[in-house]
Symmetry: C2
Subunit: 301 residues, 2 copies
DNA sequence: TAGCTGCTATAGTTATTCCCTATAGTGGCA
DNA sequence: TGCCACTATAGGGAATAACTATAGCAGCTA
């Protein structure tokens, strides 16, 4: 049984005449005749009465023709759904992003993306790098935004921007009058860190070798927002990515100080499976990043 | 797009691996690979990510695969419905029958048919010969039971039985003591006839040439039952087919007299379109007639 | 009843499609 | 670098599906 044969029986049932049905199907009369005979043979039922001017199916035959029409309709829907999917910028894009970027980049990125690809909403998964990597590999995500390095087999990356680290201290802190801090000066257990697993924690530890990293310490934040509050409360100092310190976040209760040049930074990148079927969606995301109205980032795209 | 291709993408989506999917479809891996590529090309959408160990469709691809499954299901239903129709003795048989036979033959015929083809109920259309002929031609009926002659292009007939005509008179009628009536004796306007259009009326007129047939006459019955009542009421005499005079119809108020041999009779036959797709249903009907427990009929099958 | 008409089936041929085997290409991994 | 797992490509052969031409059949008409 083929879709062509089903088309034939539907046409024949409607036309009631082999020749006209064949013409409608753009085939010769013998072609249709043979095809009908073949299908009847396969199904074991004679679907059409031959002879005279009418060939109207009855009872079971009518049902078969009706069902054939249903099958053809369903097949056509396959085509329609595929058609809808032809535009790679249509449909949800599943984006994973790390905690230390999400809240600060996404509001602007989503706004920007809406201009580039209005038909492509983002389904956001905020998580830690390791989990995002798993989800990307397992096709639970289409694309992720993480900090480099991010080496996974079969995954391509593209740098988006570099993000400097900044020192944050409470108002009235001795460093308040300094113009720049050296990474080595950030030391001791007054430095507030994110909990283990967050990549930014490791990035800070890498940038400021003097920072101690006790495994269990109340001085561990759940998120950058928590850290900021802890600093404002005078619990210590910290290092945060510049993205988290931009407008519209209020820095009234803390003092933000730059590192001495070259300031430590991290490189934020887009990553996706090399075989991802919607490359244009990647392009759209890159374009959305390009159009970000955030001068602080040193864009790389 | 072919059903085979749809089967392929469903298998591939489930197996997540070209080789295994191919094996499941009983084709070689290149065959499936090419078929998928061809379908993707036709639909204009890349449905599957290639590479690594997983090939799980996402979003639009998932929908396409789901819809493909629906289409395959519908196609399978075509096969099932056809399967149901394979047994020609399954499903309603649309039977037309003339008024002067229906009420007398059908009760027994239906009973008999139930033994021969329990899965084939009859949809009864009781009408006059001309209308039955139209309905048979237009495929509104599958088969009809009428009196011969019944010549229609493309229609085959098979005699079932011969049915003698009988004279019926009211109790106390002068003919009551006669053993047999000659057709010529049935004459005058005391003879009750069916209304015009009923074939039996014409058969009586043909058998008894002396009967007058005024076009408008109150002595016209709607049915044989009516005629019988009119005779019982003393309104006249009539000629009826023997089938209408059998058990369980009470003949207490009338006297039934035979014609002198050879008694006039009519030949009852089955008729169907020569191309009718359920020849076995015809055979079953014939067999049901054969098994009728009515010794009065001179069966011809 | 012969011939015509309208319809479907069959025969024979050609063209296409489909599927197979063999092998190349690719990326991950040890 | 070589191996492994996987998919794509090439080339040939078999099956299928198409076409044209024509036969066969039934009904209709002269």
């Amino acid at each position: 049984m083929t879709l062509t044969e089903l088309r034939y029986i539907v046409a024949l049932a409607q036309e009631g005449n082999f020749s006209r049905a064949a013409e409608r199907c753009s085939v010769s009369q013998p072609t249709l005749s043979v095809a009908i005979a073949r299908l009847e043979d396969e199904l074991g039922v004679q679907l059409f009465e031959r002879g005279k001017g009418f060939v109207s199916p009855s009872d079971v035959e009518r049902q078969v023709v009706l069902q054939a029409q249903h099958a053809l309709d369903e097949a056509e829907k396959v085509r329609q759904i595929a058609q809808r999917g032809r535009d790679q910028l249509e449909g949800v894009l599943r984006l994973g992003i790390i905690h230390t970027i999400g809240p600060y980049l996404l509001p602007q990125l989503i706004h920007s993306l809406k201009a580039v690809a209005p038909g492509m909403p983002l389904a956001i998964e905020e998580n830690m790098t390791a989990n995002l990597a798993d989800m990307l590999r397992d096709n639970d995500l289409d694309v992720v935004i993480v900090a480099l390095p991010f080496d996974l087999p079969g995954v391509l990356t593209r740098p988006l921007y570099d993000e400097s680290f900044k020192v944050v201290v409470p108002l009235g802190h001795p460093w308040e009058s300094k113009t720049a801090i050296a990474p080595e000066d950030v030391a001791g257990d007054e430095v507030l860190l994110l909990k283990a697993g967050n990549c930014f924690r490791d990035q800070v530890l890498g940038a400021c070798p003097q920072v101690s990293s006790p495994e269990t310490d109340i001085r561990l934040g759940h998120s950058i927002g928590t850290i900021r509050c802890m600093v404002a409360s005078g619990l210590g100092v910290s290092v945060l990515p510049e993205g988290a310190l931009q407008h519209p976040y209020s820095n009234d209760l803390i003092r933000v100080l730059p590192f001495v040049e070259p300031a430590p930074s991290r490189r934020i990148a887009l990553a996706w499976r090399s075989g991802f079927v919607r490359p244009k969606a990647i392009e759209a995301l890159l374009e959305a990043v390009r159009r970000l109205e955030v001068p602080a980032y040193r864009l790389l795209v």
